[in-house]
Amino acid sequence: MEPERLLRVARRRLRVGRALRAAQEALWVTLAAGFLAQLGTVVVPYPLRLEWVLASAAAAAAAAAAVAFLWRPPTPQLAAGHLDRTCGLQDRLSTWLAVREGRLASRLVDRFLEDVSQAARGVRVREAVPLRLERWRQVAALAACVVVWDLWLSGTTLPHTAARRVAEVVRREGQRLGELAQAWELQARARGFGEAVKTAQAVRQVARGLASPRATGDRAQQELGGLRGHLRSARERLQTKAAQLGASLGPEGPELEPWAVRAVERELRELGRALEEVSLSPEQAQQVRRALSRLQATGGLQPASPAHRALQQAQARLQAGDRGKAREDVRRAQEALRELARLLEEEGMLAAHQREVEASSLSIGRALQGAPDPEAVQQRPLAYPAVPRNRPGAAANPEDPETRPWDGPQYGLEPGSGHVTDKLGPATPRLEGHRRPESLRGQAGEGKVYSARLSAPASTGPARTPLVRVSARVVRQTDEVLRAQRVPGSYREWVREYFAGLAKSGP
């Protein structure tokens, strides 16, 4: 290879090699910083994700390579000096450059040029200017450390550190969500709520991740964020369906409560039974028409809803004296309302899921910000649908069938009714008895809360809360609602009787 071409190739390879080395150094520095940051999470619970570390390392490498490639390209003199040193050319190429530039004059120039050409022919540029990266093994090892840490060692914390406190909160929230999700799934399956089953499964999956020893606060927030999005979209689907059935949608969701729809649907059921009677007295007919009018005025139902239309047709047929067709219309309205109530209940269930998930996210967020007392999470009251303040007919006589109050807020319609799977409670939390004694807190009967300190591994069989425990939980919820809300005394009595009957029907 002629000296001219030799230098050209060497300059190009020097440039590329410099860019590669710069990229390698940038990778090394960034990965080392990332790894140190990962180690720092053992003490301080700051957010750090593997993709951030890898992306910043790649960006730094690319930027360093670009700068090194573009900034001050190697001069021919530099390339000549490099080749002289690495190939043992004893400054032949450097001197050749000076000769070519006319800076040296001697009668030995011709001999020198001949000498340089001969020496240049023996130069292997690839060997003289290699493009291999000398520290790639170290860089690869460091990258492996970063990945291994993220996959298997993330979540490791030192005792008595902020990171450990956050990890404990995350695991506790994971266990809590897991228990709730198990109960939700059972309830959703029992009621045939497809969306609710899916979301409960999703919550369980996320909860498993949160309860694992590798969970971190940042990752938990990420997972819970995704879960919130999943719940939001599921709720939107249900709300769309409910809106198609006539439910008005407000900023917080449907303005219609499922128990209100159930109450209307029950009145329609009684109305349908009344229409089945052979003879209908004028007073009864007038009463039926009044009931129809009142039902049409039920708040939260849009006038163009299928139930409304069916009821209007029923009223028209009743005025025309066609009781059979009117009964058929009432039945259609009843079915539409039943479907609407089912959708609203499922949506309400998802709303409860979402509130629990948001509560967990809030707890973890507080822990990440260094807020004290993570145990307060356990003391948070259980979520349940809020009792509306503007219930229709709240002041009416409970003996009057027209103003009879609605069913219970969420679980079961009547004492003793419903399926046994409705009454299954959350699973007993798994105890890590092999590590250290742990406290188990729970209810073992009506209204009583027990705490036990266990030193042995817990049983790993399927755990189910007995029916009495569910009723106790509902009683407790009801007590809290009745205490917190302004509820007339007559309704308080009704609720007390309802749950008393429910407790009697238990095992």
Partner: protein, 331 residues
């Protein structure tokens, strides 16, 4: 003379010298480099290691006029350069005529030069630098080529006069002649104690040596090599802009620009001797020790710590980076 002839002649000179001088490859090469560079050399070594023999043999091999001056404390400058003497002919007429001293030769062996007084030592200054001698206002040019090859004994301090710095600076090289190893001593015994003493034949003549010197000056030197030489010399100055650490610590005064000239000339000669027509940084490094060791004036600290100038030169060479051919990014 072309490079091929140069090499042939050089090899013949080496071969002839090797017939008499046993071992001392580096010293022989150093002396020859000094000769080819047109410089003078100071040989330092204990008595009996072959310094005088080397010089005498070299003079014979090169076919040059040789004279030997045994320096003693009572040696006067006129004994070296010559003097005007009053001459009277048969008719009684008198006149002054210049009686040439032993300096009027081509290879002058100044044996044990440090035994003479500084005044006598200084008599060599003009001859070494200018190639001429001035007596009573009359300048007498010396026949070219002209070399002073001086010897001195490093262990005898009694009755010696260390060479003044100006005198030392005139020497291109200061070569240390080590004690030969066992094998070399055996070889010396074999050659010198038998019935047949090896003889050498002249293989060159004055003109040939001059042409070799001229060719040495034709050797190409890249700018970055010159910059390296300058940087090396500059680094020996503790008060300079970029002194080496060793120089800052142990040197009182560094090498002169004459030292830089000597360094480059010797490097050129070495390059040619090694078959190249251009100087490399490696050549400069190779001759840095003999070319600079006698030009450094060490300070009291160095003397107190027993630091040798060779040590300082080695550290300076090690510290000064090889000059980048031109400004540009490092690879």
């Amino acid at each position: 003379m072309d490079v091929g002839e140069f090499h042939t002649l050089y090899q013949r000179i080496r071969s002839e010298l090797a017939r008499v001088v046993v071992g001392h490859e580096e010293v022989v090469e150093g002396v020859l480099l000094a000769v080819l560079s047109g410089g003078h050399a100071l040989l330092e070594g204990v008595p009996g290691v072959g310094k005088t023999l080397l010089v005498k043999t070299l003079a014979r091999v090169l076919g040059l006029k040789f004279s030997r001056i045994q320096f003693t404390p009572d040696l006067m400058p006129a004994d070296v350069v010559g003097t005007n003497v009053l001459v009277q002919d048969a008719e009684g007429r008198r006149w002054l005529t210049f009686q040439r001293g032993p300096i009027f030769s081509q290879i002058v062996l100044a044996d044990e030069i440090n035994r003479a007084t500084p005044k006598t030592q200084s008599a060599l200054l003009e001859a070494m630098q200018e190639g001429a001698v001035t007596v009573a206002g009359v300048s007498y040019p010396l026949e070219r080529p002209f070399f002073v090859l001086a010897t001195q004994n490093p262990i005898e301090m009694e009755g010696t006069y260390p060479l003044p710095e100006a005198q030392l600076d005139r020497f291109l090289f200061k070569l240390r002649v080590p004690f030969p190893d066992t094998q070399a001593v055996v070889e010396i015994l074999e050659r010198t104690t038998g019935a047949q003493v090896p003889e050498v034949q002249p293989v060159a003549e004055a003109d040939g040596v001059l042409r070799m010197q001229a060719l040495v000056r034709e050797v190409l030197t890249a700018p970055h090599v010159q910059a390296y030489v300058a940087r090396l010399v500059e680094a020996t100055h503790p008060q300079g802009p970029r002194p080496a650490r060793a120089a800052k610590r142990w040197v009182r005064y560094g090498a002169s620009p004459r030292g830089a000239q000597a360094l480059l000339l010797a490097a050129k000669a070495r390059a040619l001797v090694h078959g190249r027509v251009h100087v490399s940084v490696e050549d400069v490094r190779a001759v840095a020790l003999p070319a600079l060791r006698h030009r450094l004036l060490l300070n009291f600290e160095a003397e107190a710590e027993g630091i040798d100038p060779d040590h300082v030169v080695r550290e300076v060479v090690e510290e000064v980076p090889e000059a980048t051919p031109a400004a540009g990014a490092r690879p």
